[in-house]
Subunit: 517 residues, 2 copies
């Protein structure tokens, strides 16, 4: 396994690592047991040279650090090439040297003669092996080159092998190859060359992970990729997918078995540092990788996990989730009622009533997958276990322009609790914020525990966008009180009303769970 | 090609389609030339039955509409099965019938005897063929079943074929299969059965797209997937990847050649309706699929596109992008000023001023990629070519609960045009709708042409969700006047103010472009 998140991954749009970021990712990959980390191009990027200097003090336990560079420039010796010298300066045990394997690139892009390119490969690889470095030769555009001119593509590998390269890496640089041809070509190369062969795939046809797995099954002994698939254009092969595929399904050993459970947290950490999601639907490590929404599916995994899971989520440190929705029906209702301490049977009329009510609400635009708080309230209401904590007499929210004191909205509210009326008002940044403050102010008189609650997230989604400003909106509010967090939902054509519904659910859920009545 | 975005895609977390949404997606897939659209399970979901009724009036040009359901329940005849009857009620030309092909599922999940399951398959398929429906048999967990008990898995296909199924679809329901075994199994099935074979893959190992392509190359004649890969857990095979792979790389015909350029816009449209991104790195149709981040790659594609592109972006309706932000910032300003008939040079102080103003606004949360109308106004303001069409004295928006006559909000507005004051008011569904109506009512007195303008889209995005109800929001409004459509943007902590800013831009853009002053 060679991870190149820190070099190829950094070529993705929107990704830019600081030296600190790179050191953190290096440590995480080393902890996981990745055997090579290819971490930068010191000739192109002065930040990378600083990184390599600081990385020397990290004390790697498993990973060998590699610096990346190209074959020497035309017309000079390697010893005169600034980029080659900065690779030496990086002081790593090994280097990855990229060279052209597609004759079209040699003649049309770098304007070199085919033989000159072979000399550039041989001399550059030789230079670094003489300096005691482990050299991986990166055969750029190998598969395109092999398709156009196989003899020349093979000659580039031969030049690197003869000069002492420790590994020949076949790159699908443009991401245009398919598993069937990858399999044939890898078989041919691994039988023709004594040097170990690696595979490096890009995802422009959506084939990077498949090509990588198939290459290993066809004889490649090393894999290059980026942990979360970050990379130029459509990205690189994702090691977070390739590692479990090879280790759990194809019986290869990539990292120590006991580290397999750290796959998900490592993916999340790298994603956090890169400030770029791994994709909720990412195989094995994504948030949705073991999330079941279909009724039959949810039902099946409760009976036997094998029924709708290709692997146990524990094996990669991920978690199973049963989502609530019109598709999931009874099973998720039963699992929620069990959690609420109100177990129901699958065929009871109460279960049916709850399922029907959920369908009705979903038809109106509600969604309960994320809104656990509102979901619990729907159940309690259907079971007759719910009693309101207050009665709203009325509210009025005023937004104005121009406005004073930096607050563009104010709200007035009148509520009744146990026969006692409370009238109050508040100002805020916009109508929803003002109403939120007024409601809390009024209720805290009766329920001081509400002072513990803070809103931690607020989302608005327009449902039927084509109705423009008269569109229905769905508001999701996440609340927390220091020990727990919960999400509630409201739907209306009026954003104030939708927010109001979600706010009320949030407060009632808090009071119910604390057993205040 | 069978697209199941509307059924399997809707099983993805966070996706929930209204009947309107489903009709729009159906039309888009039909326009593209997709041959089958599998669109819902009327037995499970009352919304789906409404959809099928309305779909009958869409007038499909290419697609055949399919309804989805299971084999009959145990112990009853198909004619007594409610789900089967609602499939008939859907009134589609064809149905997809899912049945168990893995004996473990038969015995352990649905607690049926193996022979009983075969009878359920045969009787259900037979029922629908007798009713004149085209039947696709969906062999659930076929590959897992074939691995465990090939004879039984084959027997389930045989039961469906004997009962008249028009197609046998082999499903990798848990997404655990790899291209090598898919190839072997598909070859075996396509030579053993006379009925056409389809492939339906899930992406739990990251193999869905590869497995699908390899299945076709091994003899499968139909593909099932979802256009953007939406689906349960890690999703389904992505037709937006599979179609160009097969049609541009493997010489199969999936959709009419002249429609290939609509792949990207179709993917964006479906993503927009689903309110879920397609992933910037998605093969072929993603925003980054042909984005080159400077350096050697940008240089290479300038010399010859083949150097770093596996296919021409035009072929799928996508665009090449060179990501050198400073340069591209100026480029888009220059191209816009040219369109406005106000050509600037790259190094002029005006260009610099506009680029700086855009950066300032972007820092505040504005985004101009989609907001062409507001972008034009920023340019005109910086060039001193802008003069306001009206002056706002004040507005007041009132939202209340309870409310009368079905309108929860009202707005009062005072504006001045050429020294003349207009005061008016309107009611609406929520504060933004009320203010929108009041503003138009006031302005139409002076500018009757505004009666041509309709708002066609309204979007809200919460920018710093963690500030909860005091979060900044960005509002995008799309307007149209019968000959043109334009989008404008506003940002504020107050949703009314953010909407106001976008509304004013929309109106000013209309008046400017019509040359009214």
């Amino acid at each position: 396994m060679l991870d190149t998140t820190l070099r190829d991954g950094a070529q993705a749009r929107g990704i830019s690592f600081s030296v600190e970021d790179k050191l953190k990712i290096l440590s995480a990959l080393d902890d996981l047991g990745v055997s090579y980390v290819e971490a930068g191009n010191p000739g192109h990027n002065p930040k990378d040279l600083e990184f390599f200097k600081r990385a020397a003090s990290v004390g790697l336990k498993n990973a060998r650090l590699m610096a990346f560079g190209s074959t020497r420039r035309r017309g000079i010796s390697v010893g005169e090439d600034k980029n080659a010298l900065s690779l030496l300066e990086a002081g790593t045990e090994g280097v990855c040297i990229v060279g052209k394997s597609w004759d079209f690139h040699v003649t049309d892009i770098i304007n070199a003669a085919p033989d000159e390119n072979l000399a550039m490969i041989g001399e550059t690889v030789g230079f670094f092996t003489r300096h005691g470095k482990e050299v991986i030769f990166e055969a750029e555009h190998f598969f395109d080159g092999y398709r156009d001119n196989p003899d020349y593509a093979l000659a580039t590998l031969k030049a690197a092998e003869d000069a002492g390269a420790g590994c020949l890496c076949l790159c699908d640089t443009n991401g245009g190859a398919f598993p069937d041809e990858i399999s044939i070509i890898i078989k041919k190369i691994t039988t023709s060359f004594a040097t170990p062969v690696a595979i490096h795939c890009h995802n422009d046809c959506g084939m990077a992970d498949a090509n990588t797995v198939i290459a290993v099954c066809s004889g490649a002994s090393q894999v290059q990729g980026t942990f979360n698939g970050f990379g130029e254009r459509c990205g690189n092969a994702r090691l977070s997918t390739v590692i479990p595929n090879l280790q759990l399904k194809k019986n290869y050993s990539c990292i120590p078995d006991e580290k397999m459970r750290n796959l998900t947290t490592t993916a999340l950490l790298i994603s956090e540092i890169a400030n770029d999601g791994i994709g909720d639907g990412s195989p094995y490590v994504g948030k949705n990788a073991f999330a079941h929404k279909g009724g039959m599916h949810a039902d099946g995994v409760e009976k036997d996990e094998r029924s709708f899971e290709h692997v146990n989520p524990d094996a990669v440190g991920n978690k199973r989730q049963i989502l609530t929705s019109e598709y999931s029906g009874r099973t998720s209702v039963l699992s929620k009622t069990r959690k609420l301490g109100l177990p129901l049977s699958k065929d009871s009329p109460e279960t049916e009533r709850i399922v029907n009510r959920l369908k009705e609400l979903e038809h109106q635009g509600y969604q309960f997958e994320a809104a656990d708080g509102s979901f619990a309230l729907v159940i309690l209401k259907q079971l007759g276990k719910y009693k309101p904590f207050f009665e709203l007499k009325n509210y009025r929210v005023l937004g104005e322009q121009p406005y004073e004191d930096g607050k563009s909205a104010s709200a007035l509210i009148k509520i009744i609790v146990d026969g006692k009326t409370e009238v109050t008002a508040a100002e805020g940044d916009g109508p929803v914020n003002a109403l939120d403050k007024a409601l809390r102010k009024a209720l805290e008189v009766f329920y001081p525990k509400l002072m513990e609650v803070h809103l931690t997230d607020y989302k608005v989604r327009v449902l039927d966008e084509k109705s423009a400003t008269a569109s229905k909106v769905r508001v999701l509010i996440e609340s927390a009180d220091g020990t727990e967090s919960w999400t509630t939902v409201g739907v209306s054509r009026d954003i104030i009303e939708a927010s109001w519904l979600a706010l009320v659910d949030s407060i009632e859920y808090k009071l119910l769970k604390d057993g205040i009545d």
